[in-house]
């Protein structure tokens, strides 16, 4: 099962990930990414990876299999 990781120090609050997968990523009041889920089912991998890759500062990764 894919595991989601976020580098909160790297995040700059672009929110591209939120636009890509708002059920998984959000931005808190301080402008920093929040993971709404830590794992997603395998069939969600492609969609969530796309959202993670849209991060301009590479703060997001999807690991595991």
């Amino acid at each position: 099962m894919p595991i989601l990781r976020a580098d909160h120090g790297a995040c700059q609050g672009y929110a591209n990930c939120v636009a890509g997968a708002s059920d998984v990523y959000d931005i808190d009041d301080d402008g920093v990414v929040v993971l709404l889920k830590e794992r997603v089912p395998e069939e969600e991998r492609q969609r969530v990876e796309e959202a993670a890759r849209s991060c301009p500062v590479s703060a997001l990764t999807v690991e595991g299999g």
Partner: protein
């Protein structure tokens, strides 16, 4: 500069200084005083049925994203990024949960709230430098809807949309409420013509007089059986609230026969009877008038006609909603939608769409006939001779103000407002009188909204 008092005084007497149809100073004042306060149609709810659906529409130079948010609520966001003023959404329609500015990457949820503000901490020092919380794209100052038709006004003090429409809502139902589901709209087709915006609005409001002349060829080739001169003369024009329109007098019969005569199938007629009031049914069934074209001040029009679409003698009715969006004093962008009852049978929708495309829209025959006149008129209105000419728009009035054709009594016309049979320019004068009333009143300066300070705090609670 224009002689404002002179021009407006003339217009109110029904004498129209010809240059108002092509005058940059008049247009500058219209931008501020007419379009800066009037309720402007922007979209129909059926164009954005699902969460995230949006269309981008303009009120002259101001672009708005008309969007249904994740909760189903409809907004009209001013399409300008809070940061450097870039247009946030550059597509014309689509579906999006968020809108991201292409310039520096600020992003907004579809309810308008800011979500992404890159390097907020590094660049601004966080909330201490720029209050990100509660910032949102500016809202259209006013938004309202009636029968699914969404309007905005740029005037914070505008009367409610319902008050603006007034008794015209009675007639609006014929176009937009033929069943409990209302209409669905397709389009718009959007194209520009070198004509002043007022001409189309006036024409649709009440010009039954042009039909037998301008549209002769359409009748001659057998596609449209109605606009014979005497038939139009027997029709009534009505004005109610801030809108008015034209009707055709139909042959004898009751409500069912007359709706059948213009091509409605029985199942649609049954739904209309369930939806319309006694008075709305009586205008057609008892009084014998079938609605045709109409305009609502300032620049929204409707048309309902029933041409032949196949080889048989059968006619099929269609409805179009259209907006005369001003580009300049001598150019108008026409937005033309096809509208049809959402519960209509598929075959009816297909034929009705065909009827619409044949008559109106960028290739429609009626459209071509009309626009040739309007472009030519606009051209001629730019010259110096046009500044001497006061067009007589007093049809239906004697010089002393006596009406040629008196208002129909309630027993002959059961709708609200004032209705008269025969040719006249009462409706065109009603429209231009409202234009004069707007042109006369300066618009108070709207309060500014500061971005990133507490300036938007008042909105935060909403």
């Amino acid at each position: 500069m224009i002689d404002q008092a002179g021009v407006l005084g003339s217009v109110r007497r029904g004498m129209i200084p010809a240059h108002i149809y092509n005058d940059e100073h008049v247009f500058a004042l219209e931008k501020e005083r007419v379009f800066g306060r009037a309720w402007m149609f922007v979209a129909h709810e059926s164009e954005i049925p699902s969460a995230g659906d949006y269309v981008v529409r303009r009120v002259l130079d101001d672009s708005f994203i008309v969007v249904r948010d994740e909760k189903g609520e409809i907004h009209a966001h001013f399409n300008m990024c809070l940061h450097r003023g870039m247009q946030v959404c550059r597509a014309e329609m689509g579906n999006a949960s968020h809108f991201r500015c292409p310039y520096h990457g600020w992003s907004y949820r579809n309810d308008g709230r800011i979500v992404g503000l890159p390097f907020h901490q590094d660049a601004y020092g966080g909330e201490a430098g720029f209050k990100r919380k509660s910032q949102r794209l500016l809202r259209a100052p006013r938004i309202g809807s009636h029968n699914g038709m969404i309007f905005v006004s740029l005037d914070d003090e505008a009367p409610s949309l319902r008050d603006h429409l007034g008794d015209f809502v009675f007639y609006l139902d014929y176009y937009t409420r033929q069943s409990p589901s209302g209409i669905e709209m397709r389009g718009p087709q959007r194209w520009r013509v070198k004509a002043n915006w007022k001409i189309g609005a006036e024409n649709f409001a009440g010009d039954m007089y042009h039909t037998p002349q301008t549209h002769t060829s359409v009748v001659e080739i057998g596609l449209f059986r109605e606009p014979k001169a005497e038939k139009r003369r027997d029709g009534a024009t009505y004005w109610a609230g801030n809108g008015g329109g034209t009707t055709y007098k139909l042959p004898p019969g009751g409500l069912d026969e007359r709706l059948r005569y213009v091509g409605y199938p029985d199942e649609m007629i049954a739904r209309m009877k369930g939806e319309w009031s006694r008075e709305q049914c009586d205008v057609i069934g008892r009084d014998g008038f079938m609605i045709s074209a109409a305009s609502v001040f300032p620049n929204l029009s409707f048309v309902h006609n029933w041409p032949r679409v196949e080889d048989s003698d059968d006619v099929v009715p269609f409805i179009s909603v259209r907006q005369w969006q001003p580009i300049s004093e001598n150019e108008t962008e026409i937005l033309s939608w096809f509208a049809v009852d959402a519960e209509a049978p598929e075959e009816f929708k297909r034929l009705s769409y065909k009827a619409y495309l044949m008559c109106f829209g960028s290739t429609g025959m009626f459209e071509q006939d009309d626009v040739e006149n309007w472009v030519s008129l606009t051209n001629t209105a730019a010259g110096s001779m046009a500044r001497r000419l006061m067009l007589n728009s007093r049809m239906g009035l004697l010089e002393d103000g006596t009406e040629v054709s008196p208002a129909l009594p309630p027993e002959r016309f059961s709708g609200p407002g004032i209705a008269r049979t025969g040719y006249s320019e009462h409706n065109q004068r009603e429209l231009l009188r409202r234009w004069a009333d707007h042109m006369e009143r300066p618009l108070p300066k709207a309060a500014g909204v500061e971005v990133g300070t507490n300036g938007q705090q008042a909105e935060a609670g909403q």
